[in-house]
C-alpha cells in the first residue's frame, strides 16, 4: 500500500468531500449539541413543572407562527434552487432565488419580531399581563430557544445578503458553487431546528 500512495502523490482521501463542506458538517455537529442542550433542558424543566406551561394556542399565536414556519421551509426550497441555478450557470436564477431566500429569511425575522412584541406587550399568562422572559419557566424557555434560533436565522440572513451581493457581480457559477452549498447546509440546518422547535414549543 505504501507504493500506491507514493504513486498518487495526492493528499490522503478523507471523506471525499471538499474541506469547507467537511468544516460545515463539523460545525453543525456542535450546533446540534448547543440546541440539544437547550431542548434537553426544556424537556426536563417541562416534565418537572408541567402545570406552568400553557396549552397550545393559549398564549402563543400558532397560526402566525405556522405561516412563519411555512416561509422558512419555502426559503429552504429557494436555497436549493439557487444552488441548482449556480450549477446550471443560470445567472438570472441565481440572483432571483438568492434574493427570495434572503427575503424570506428577513420576513421570518420580521414576523418573529412582531410576535415577540405582541407577546411582551399584550400576552396574557397566568394572570399577568405581558408574556416576557420573566414569565416563569414557560416564558424563559420560549424566549431563550426561539431567541437563539432567531439569532441563527439572523446570521444566515446576513450571509445570504452577502451571497446575493456577490451574485449581482456574477460571481457564482458552475466553477464556484462551494460557498452556496456550504451556506445552504447551514440554512437547511436552521430550518430543521425550527421545525423541531415549532413542534415542541408551539404544538405540544
Amino acid at each position: 500500500m505504501a507504493h500506491a500512495a507514493a504513486a498518487a502523490r495526492a493528499p490522503e482521501r478523507g471523506l471525499d468531500v471538499y474541506t469547507q463542506k467537511v468544516g460545515m458538517w463539523v460545525f453543525l455537529c456542535s450546533e446540534v449539541m448547543f440546541f440539544a442542550g437547550l431542548i434537553g433542558s426544556y424537556v426536563i424543566l417541562r416534565f418537572g413543572a408541567s402545570d406552568s406551561w400553557g396549552q397550545p394556542g393559549e398564549v402563543l399565536n400558532v397560526p402566525v407562527t405556522a405561516v412563519n414556519t411555512f416561509i422558512l421551509i419555502c426559503s429552504s426550497v429557494t436555497m436549493v434552487k439557487a444552488f441548482a441555478a449556480a450549477e446550471a450557470d443560470d445567472q438570472k436564477g441565481i440572483k432571483l432565488y438568492l434574493f427570495l431566500t434572503f427575503l424570506m429569511g428577513a420576513m421570518f425575522l420580521g414576523i418573529q419580531a412582531y410576535e415577540y412584541t405582541e407577546l411582551i406587550l399584550h400576552g396574557e399568562w397566568q394572570g399577568s399581563h405581558g408574556f416576557t422572559p420573566q414569565a416563569g419557566l414557560y416564558g424563559a424557555t420560549f424566549f431563550t430557544m426561539t431567541g437563539f434560533h432567531g439569532f441563527h436565522v439572523f446570521l444566515g440572513v446576513v450571509c445570504l445578503g452577502w451571497a446575493f451581493k456577490r451574485s449581482l457581480a456574477g460571481e457564482w457559477g458552475p466553477k464556484n458553487t462551494h460557498g452556496l452549498e456550504v451556506l445552504g447546509l447551514y440554512w437547511h440546518f436552521v430550518d430543521l431546528v425550527w421545525i423541531i422547535l415549532f413542534t415542541i414549543v408551539y404544538l405540544i
Partner: protein, 586 residues
Amino acid sequence: MATMIAEATGQAILTEEHKQSFLRKYIFSTDHKVIAIQFLFLTLFFLMIGGFLAMMMRYQIAWPDQPIPLGGIFPESMVASGYILPEFYNSLVTMHGSIMVFLAIMPMLVGVYANYLIPLQLGAHDMAFPRLNMYSFWIMIPAGILTLSSFFVIGGAAGAGWTLYAPLSARPDLTGVALGQQMWLASVVLIGLSSIFGSLNYITTVINMRAPGMTWFRMPLTVWALFITAILGLLAMPVLSAAGIMLLFDQTIGTSFFLPEGGGQPLLWQHLFWFFGHPEVYILILPAMGFTSEILAVGSRKPIFGYKAMVWAIISIAFLGFIVWGHHMFQSGMNPALGLTFTISTLFIAVPSAIKTFNWMGTMWRGNLKLHTPMLFAIGFVAMFAIGGLSGIFMASTPVDIYIHDTYFIVAHIHYVLFGGSLFALFGAIYFWYPKMFGRMMNETLGKIHFWLTLIFFNLVFFPMHGLGMVGMMRRIYDASGYRHLEGIADTNALITWSAFALYASGFLFAFNFFWSLWRGKKAADNPWDATTLEWQTPSPPKHGNWAEVPVVYHGPHEYSHPGVTDKDWLAQNERPDVPSPAGGH
C-alpha cells in the same frame, strides 16, 4: 461561519509570505505555528496566575490565624487587616480552578499543540481554515481580560466554585458576587467559541489534509489523541455554552432555569455542567496521553507497544466519557438507581486507561531508554497518572464515595490527573518540541533539576491530600479549625503548603530556562531527538507553509530500531523503504 464561506470561495487563504506586514506575520497571523506560539505564551502566563492563586489558598489553609505577608497590597474587599476574607478565598478557589482548566491547561494542550502539531505531523501546509484559527486565538484575549478583571469589580470574582453549582452561582444575594459571576460566564462562553473554532479546524484538517500515504493508522498517536479531543470539545463545549447562557439569564434578567422558587431545577445545572465537564476531563488528559506516547517511543527507541490498542483505547475513552457524567453527582440527591449505571460505566472507563498504562510500560520494556528531560517527564506522567487513575477507583465505588466525596481525597485525585498527568506531559511536550518551535534547545541540566524538583514537591503537595481526605477534611473550606475530626491535620497542611511554595518556585526555574533558551539556548538541529514523525523532517523552526515539497508517507509513525535498518535506529515516516515494509506497521 462567514469565514468558512469566504474561505470556501477562495478569498481568504494567505499563501504569500513575503508581502506580509509585521502585524500580519507575528500578531494577526494565520500561520498555525505562530498561533500556537501565541497560545503558548498566553497559557504560560495564566499558568503562573493560576498557581499564584493556589499559593494564597495554601497559605490560608495552613495558617488561618496568621495575617498573610504583604496582605496590605490587596484591596480591603479581598484582604482585611491582613487576613484573607472568606469570600475572597472562595474567589481564589473558583478562579484557580477556572483559570487552570479554561485558560491554562486546555488551551495549552489544544491551542498550542493541536495547532502546532496537527499540520506538521500530517504533512499539511497549514490548518484547513487559517483565518478561523486566528480568531480562535484572539477570542481568548477578551476572555482572559474578563477573567482577570473580574477580581476588581464590586463583589469580586466568581466564588461559587469552578463547577458553579446553582443556586449559589445564580443568586447574587447569596454570595455578594454579581458582576464577577457574569464576567466568568461571558468569558466561558467566549472560550467555548474559541474552542469550537479550534476543534472545527483540527477535525477538518485531520480528515482532509493528510499527506499522501498518511493513512488513518499511520497517524502519530498525538494526532489521534488531539483529533479525538477536538471531537470531544466540539460536542461538549456547546452544552456548557447553552447552560452558561441560561445561568447568565438567571443572574441578570430574572429567569429561573436553575432556581426552585420559579420551578427551575438546581440539579439540571449539574447534569448539564457534568455532561460537559466529564468529556472536559478527557479533553484535559487525552492530548497528554498522546504526547506521552510520542515521547516514550522516541525515548525508548521502540515502536509504540500496541499502537492500535492505543488508538482504540482513546476512542473508547471518548465514547465512554459522554456517559459517565453522573459519577460526579452520586451524593447530589440524584435518583440513587442511576448510581449503579454510572458506577459501571465509570469503572469501565478505567479499562482503556489501564490498557494505555500497560502499553506505555510495554513500550519501555527492552527499550534503549534515553533519559533526557522530555523522557523523564513522560515517565513521570505514567507514574503520576497511574496514581490518579487508581485513586479514581475509590470514587467510582459509590459506597466509598459517600465518605470521600467533597473531601481532599477528590482534590488529590484531580491534581494527580491534571497536574501529575496533564501538566507533566505538557512540560515534557514543551521540552520536546521547543527545538522545533524556536530552533534552540532548552538547557538539559536545568530541565532535569526542574523535573526532579517538580516530581518531589508535587508528591509532597498532593499525596498527603489523600490522607486529609481519609481524615475527612472537606474541600473548599477556608479554615479547618473548629472541627473535632480535623484537629490533627495542621502539620500536614503546613507540610503541603511549604511544598506547594517549593513547587511553585521550581516553576520559575522552568520559566527561566524557557526564556533564557530563547536567546541563549544551543542551536537545534532539524531532528535533535532522532525522531521519525514528519515534523522533524523539516527545518527547525519550519518555514511558512511547512514544507518545500509535500512529504510522502511510507510507514507507521514510530519505526525505531528496525532490524532492517543498520546505519541508525530510526526510520522517518517519509523515508523510502529500502527495507521490507515493517511487519505490523498498519
